[in-house]
Symmetry: C2
Subunit: 245 residues, 2 copies
């Protein structure tokens, strides 16, 4: 909040006026979808968040939707480049406040979103069922990463130093929200718990479990519950940022 | 809400992206204080409303604060000119969305705010304990208006055609919120009820009575309740406006 005085001139009189302006005007919000999904799954949430006065940006990762011919050979490294390009487009939007940028990633998109915080300025980070991948798979075709080894990896409680995404979370100084699905059979609880434990330097961390929800939020009520959680959290974050410098 | 597609260029690939932007970005909110008050009484509420992502403007009416030497001779007509000048300053602010302007007036300021809607574009109108004055007093010194005659006038249930401010309310097509004080001994209930009844063409009307409150909201709890009512109502209005055209 800033308050600045200004004169109102009327007839031959000067009246005292005051502008009351929020510190953060228009946040930008980047959505990163999961593997095998596309931006369409984020449209509804993007719509809700834009009603808070944000400019939202969704996009299709390489290997999905129009570029699905690349699905078999795109690597995490390449998809990270996609996320960076999308972030840079959002941050360059003339209306977006560069000091008020949120990233909302699901599953594989959560993994990429976490790493993004080590490469670009991110104020608010939402990770829904964030997935973990071994650092050694970074340049491998995502579709060809050994599934069994990955599942075993996600059964471990890991330290920030064990993984690139967790290292990024440990250095993150903004506000983080993790939303876990109770009945997730894709990303095991230890993986999500490792993310939560990694936020050692965050300004705040909220961790919610959606009861009865599966990994993909196929149930409409669970999806709505997720949207409500994110909308309220974003609303709280934006409101606080508008008051404090 | 508008959704517009855009390409994200990364490596030699074009990814499909979408901007999700709210229709109304930054509302402007003008505060008009009551007779004998000053902009200071609106600072707290202006602060709350600016946290919603609005640019707020408060000012001192002629005859108050720095220009209190004019207190004895300023007329409603002159104070209306003050309100117009303040409105025009707000609407000219580079960030303010001219199609999303709210005016919040208390008592005498509510009277002026109601008339303002017939002279300028106002989308949202908040009238707290709005006062009524006879049209014939328009060019008289406000401080010299006969108090007894005024009290008698405020005991009447009036039709829109009976009064300039009520005529303006009857033509108002935006959203209106009236907040009345249960124990108001300055503006009698029939006057406030006349305002409420006048909003025949409003897009919406909300009428709240603050239990236990006096005219000037001297009780801190009543003041907080008023701030909560206005903040929630504004939040609802802005959110709806951001979605619909």
């Amino acid at each position: 909040m800033s308050e600045s005085p200004v004169d109102v001139l009327v007839a031959s009189t000067k009246l005292s006026g005051t502008w009351h302006e929020p510190n953060r005007l228009i946040p930008g919000v980047l959505f990163v979808h999961g593997w095998g999904s596309n931006q369409g799954n984020n449209l509804q949430l993007a719509r809700s968040i834009s009603r808070l006065g944000c400019i939202c940006f969704t996009f299709d990762l390489r290997g999905h939707a129009a570029t699905s011919q690349l699905h078999g050979r795109v690597t995490p490294e390449e998809n990270m480049a996609d996320v960076l390009a999308a972030y840079d487009l959002l941050a360059a939007h003339e209306w977006v406040d560069k000091d008020a940028i949120a990233v909302i990633g699901s599953s594989y998109g959560g993994y990429l979103a976490a790493i993004l915080t080590s490469l670009r300025a991110v104020d608010w980070l939402v990770l829904r069922v964030p997935a973990l991948y071994r650092d050694s798979d970074w340049k491998k075709a995502k579709a060809k990463i050994d599934r069994q080894a990955l599942n075993a990896y996600r059964d471990l409680y890991l330290e920030p130093d064990d993984n690139r995404a967790l290292r990024a979370c440990a250095k993150f100084r903004g506000d983080a929200l993790i939303v876990e699905s109770e009945l997730d059979t894709v990303v095991a609880h230890p993986a999500v718990a490792s993310f939560a434990a990694a936020f050692r330097n965050a300004h705040s961390l909220s961790h919610r479990v959606l009861d009865g929800a599966d990994h993909g939020l196929t149930d409409a009520h669970c999806r709505e519950a997720y949207h409500r959680i994110v909308s309220r959290w974003m609303s709280e974050m934006i409101s606080a940022a508008r008051e404090h410098q």
